[in-house]
Subunit: 699 residues, 2 copies
């Protein structure tokens, strides 16, 4: 290894500084150098193979100063960390944070400006960030560009979505890097607002697989007071360059010293399971800032929501969805409004009967007649219910049934309006004892000129999380920027959507069967997703014979998603009447917990399949989820993760033999088996199918 | 007149529509035509003289449609209005609203788009606005330009300030129109933030005087949900064109149908007093929207404020004014902090002793160590006092003395931050029974890219006024956009700064003696100004022998300003210790009310002098203020406005014979006279001087 390093040094550039850091496992090596023009570079190796070729690091300031060259190293330190911490909610009860770090202090010769770069090498990959140390005369500065390179070594297979500044709700494309081209995408995909400015711009997390079997993931962690980083690809050289999302006037970030950028991460392994199991992103975030976390709890919920997606009812009271400027008292009710007191009570009854924690009601508040697509500022006030939603009565009824109500704050992208009303909205929640809120950001952002992924909006989402925490409220944001582990710091930020959710199956081209096998390698690396699984009435023709849309999975796979898609907030998204028809399958949704003692990824291949076993945080019960893409799959699972000398009853929810996602998605069977840690079981997953399993000790 | 009109029609353009409307007095004639290309035009005549030559009207939409030609008139109506209304606070107890109106409905031939224009002709001038009637398919639209012309007839003398999108705090320039040129201004004028984008762009209200003695004023009224209108001048043709202040992405206004623009106003008279006495701007605003106005009261106040301007104390606790990112608990107090509990009590004592309603305390809250000039977002939280300001103790002490505390909310231009905190800030005010707040907007606006005068900020100021009204709180905004009569609609918005206030005299080139003779013709037309008069210690050398700054008036003129500068909120701005030295002169400030039964402008000439008599709303007392510019002035006042058969004691606060603003500003004399409505009195005003008078009936 050392020889290789020396050769590199001599052949590629003359360096004035060179350091290397290995992962605790020694599988990963990070090399950091300063070349003879004072440019900092890094490269990454995995088991001796180059993963990231020498890549430049730098920041361009709006003042004109380029913090990318002419540096000298004034200090360089290495350190090793190995610690454990306890997440409030999570895939596992304890998380190990173990890495070797290199911290270098740079000074620019001509300007005397300081820039530190901090590197951390975990067993799963490398992270680094820029740090701006305290400078008396450089309190405030504006970043006009970040010039971080990720120089890939080959034309890897990649799972990518376009670098849209306003949306991540795309189907993943699985192509070679050289085939990435946004201009060739079919954008008739159900996404209302798109802001794609470049053919070769893609989003992170970017999951890749090299021809020699390495799984590589480029992402970021701890995005706070900084815009989201997208990636600009050179499809010929496979160079990726950071692209920060601009604000209304083209600036990227406003900072002052001392401050830091988010971590840029490169995960790498020859075993895909290491990527999905990694806690590196979480570990790179700041520890929990909430003193009393006793009120932060996992939630399984139902809601008045899917019935609007399938067209049974509407969010708005008048059913018009056009901007007539009619005041609420003059609206003529359409009779299709979903969020009525009566309908809410029906959901509360069902939730209470089946042991769900909460009921979400969307469309409860006035404003939905004129909420969408018009860049309107004063959309909702977040406190005024429709005439047919008696919030007081609903509150008392839910309380009498032991069910919590979940608030809904759709902002329509009008964030200025939301912030103006937030305290009053929170007061209403506290008054009626709502423990959690689902927020939404469908539409162009106000302040106008801002994008969903810019610094302003990143700060907004985090501000709302903090305000909710101040008031002991949990937050689940939709159409927000994709999370990067900030829920470690504010664990009340229990989930987000921020990717293409199950709802797209109801009214668009939908989510192909591979979709849920990719999300754990991309979106879920940053945090829990409110994917809203559990759709039993798979085909929309059940609601309207003219409809051809459908969920692109089997019913059994919908169950398996409760295990494969980690979230402490899980919705049973379908309608009560659909669950009534399949109460045997529904039992799994009732049984599966949303907070875990341990998680074991048994199998994983992005775009193909994933199998995970999880142990309930509060019992000895295990749950297993296995899903496949559009291809049928047979696999044998070893249950050696179970406690020895113990017998378990496994209830297996599996695809019917005649099932497939397209033609016969609702065929399933439920079988029981007694198993132990010696058991091997063959699972048969049909095309677009899955298996869910509950494993309960037999005493 | 009719002949002239026919000649015009034949000679200037072929018109397809022509209407004229006269003022109730018949002195003013408005002519409105559509020429043969369907362009709407208007012109204005005063006593037969042309004041505004045929000028185009039009709106450019972002969609590409130009609402400026190809119109036909589909309806045209005239109407006459004569009504009275009662302002909550004002220069007079009742206001007459009398005008003749023309309302035309236009339809664009090619697009079928509708545009209405409403014209009103008052005795003091003409107003018109664009109206966008309800259209089912045109709910939302974006205005990218307004093309309103004001084609002046000659090279008038004008009182102008540059068309700065962020500030109106300029000294007025008195030049011919042809001499207007922002690039020739000395901008070393104490204004921190300037956004001047064009040489020939100036602000409204624009006061002019023609060579044949007409006083002409171009302004606007009822600016709400629309940007401020500046004026672009062609210095050769004397054409003025509307310039709307853009938002962060260059758009001007987001509207939906039905909606209206602000009124564009042209006041004209051959008597300057008609301009300053006009209530046309107020009349053009919507009536009061606050049901219970019993809590809206005039206020005379003192404050911990001038002592910071003169350098005795500081707003910030540490006295550093630099951004060390030190948290408040680590700050080392400088000992110069003004807003201490002890100092506040001193002001409360003085205010209570002399019968003032309120005490303002600036610098009471944390954040002032790092508040200015850095475009910082999280500046203040508006609720956390400095360690040496015991808000509870101050509250109790003030209450025991019968003095109200006035809150201070400096936003530093970070409006997003202010709106986020506004409800909590209001809660604090309610908790400690503050009846009013002074807000401030010193600095570049956040949301970044917005200007002080854009639609976003106009809506912000009005939103804050509404929120304060919801909570029965009065508002006085500084560095906000200049008012346009919105205090008729929200009378709790009792005052604003929004022009160059007295404070500039403390630390800049200051306000020349003519300044206060121009403001009533410009800034004050839109609403009351918190000018903060009453400075007795005129020269800053009293505080520091090296200082050469001074107030550019005599002491007597400072008294006269309480009458000439109408505001229901009046500050006695100087320090208690300075008033103690001149308690005889201070008596006038104690006596003068801030709400009036009647106001009579006895003399007025912009840039030269103004004399006004006002009758107290709650007594038979009269008060008179007379001021002059840099020239000494002798005038004879007839008191025929007094009640007949009554005797009055006039207490006259006049310049000392040896006084002048520059060399001997503090020389004054106080004389008493018995007067009646037959009395004529000669007033002698020295250079930069003035006379104040209280006139009390002798029973």
């Amino acid at each position: 290894m050392k020889n290789l390093f020396i050769i590199l040094l001599l052949s590629v550039f003359q360096s004035i500084y060179a350091q290397e850091v290995q992962s605790p496992s020694k599988d990963i090596t990070l090399k950091v150098t300063l070349n003879d023009t004072g440019e900092p570079l890094y490269s990454v190796f995995y088991k001796g193979k180059e993963v990231i070729k020498p890549s430049k690091l730098g920041i361009q300031l709006k003042s004109g100063i380029s913090l990318s060259r002419d540096f000298k190293v004034i200090d360089s330190k290495q350190n090793s960390i190995d610690e454990n911490w306890t997440p409030v909610l999570g895939e596992q009860a304890s998380i190990r944070n173990r890495y070797n770090e290199l911290h270098i202090q740079l000074k620019q010769n001509q300007t005397n400006k300081l820039l530190n770069i901090s590197f951390r090498v975990f067993n799963e990959g490398v992270a680094f960030r820029y740090e701006f140390p305290f400078e008396d005369k450089v309190n405030y500065f504006i970043i006009s560009d970040e010039n971080t390179e990720f120089n890939l070594t080959g034309n890897h297979k990649s799972f990518w979505i376009p670098g849209d500044f306003d949306s991540q709700e795309y189907v993943y494309n699985e192509t070679k890097l050289s085939e990435i081209d946004n201009s060739k995408l079919d954008l008739n995909n159900g996404i209302a607002l798109k802001s794609i400015e470049s053919k070769y711009r893609i989003q992170s997390p970017l999951m890749m697989k090299s021809s020699d079997g390495l799984y590589i993931n480029i992402f970021e962690a701890a995005v706070n007071n900084y815009p989201v980083m997208h990636l600009d690809l050179n499809p010929k050289t496979f160079q990726l360059t950071s692209c920060l999302v601009p604000n209304a006037i083209g600036d990227k970030a406003y900072l002052r010293t001392p401050s830091v950028t988010p971590w840029r991460t490169i995960m790498v392994s020859d075993d895909a399971r290491d990527i999905v199991a990694s806690k590196m992103i979480l570990n790179l975030n700041e520890p929990n800032k909430i003193d009393d976390t006793s009120w932060i709890k996992p939630m399984k919920y139902m809601g008045i929501w899917w019935e609007m997606h399938v067209g049974i009812s509407t969010w708005d009271y008048a059913g018009s969805q056009n901007a007539q400027n009619v005041s609420t008292q003059d609206l003529i009710p359409s009779g299709k409004h979903g969020a009525t007191t009566e309908n809410t009570k029906r959901y509360i009854d069902f939730a209470a009967k089946h042991g769900f924690d909460g009921v979400l009601v969307e469309g409860w508040n006035v404003g939905w007649e004129d909420w969408f697509g018009n860049w309107k500022e004063d959309v909702f006030d977040f406190i005024t219910p429709y005439p047919d939603f008696n919030i007081e009565e609903v509150y008392k009824y839910a309380k009498s049934k032991g069910v919590k109500m979940i608030m809904h704050h759709e902002t329509s992208g009008s964030v200025a309006n939301y912030e103006r009303h937030l305290d009053r909205a929170i007061n209403l929640m506290k008054h009626y004892e709502y423990p959690a809120v689902k927020s939404g950001y469908v539409g162009r952002i106000i302040p106008r000129g801002e994008f969903h992924d810019g610094q302003t909006m990143v700060n907004h989402y985090n501000f709302v999380a903090q305000r909710m925490a101040d008031n002991k409220l949990m937050l689940n944001s939709h159409e927000s920027t994709r999370p990067t582990g900030y829920h470690r710091t504010y664990p009340n930020y229990i989930a987000a959507e921020a990717a293409r959710g199950n709802e797209f199956n109801a009214w668009s081209t939908g989510n192909p069967p591979a979709h849920e096998t990719i999300l754990p390698f991309t979106r879920l690396l940053g945090g829990p997703m409110d994917y809203t699984p559990g759709i039993f009435e798979i085909k929309m023709s059940a609601y309207d014979p003219n409809k051809t849309e459908q969920v692109h999975t089997t019913l059994a796979k919908q169950l398996a998603l409760y295990v494969t898609m980690y979230s402490p907030l899980q919705m049973a998204a379908d309608l009560p009447q659909n669950y009534e028809k399949h109460l045997d399958a529904f039992q799994f949704i009732k049984d599966v917990p949303a907070d875990w003692q341990a998680s074991i990824y048994l199998e994983a291949e992005p775009g193909d399949y994933i199998t995970v076993a999880r142990k309930d945080k509060n019992s000895e019960n295990w749950f297993l989820g296995a899903i496949t893409d559009e291809n049928a799959r047979t696999t044998e699972i070893k249950f050696n993760f179970l406690s020895p000398n113990k017998k378990y009853k496994a209830t297996i929810y599996q695809d019917g033999k005649d099932a497939d996602w397209k033609n016969n998605p609702k065929s399933y069977s439920i079988v029981s088996k007694t198993i132990s840690n010696k058991t091997k079981l063959k699972l048969n997953l049909v095309a677009g199918g899955g298996t869910a399993m509950s494993i309960v000790p037999i005493d």
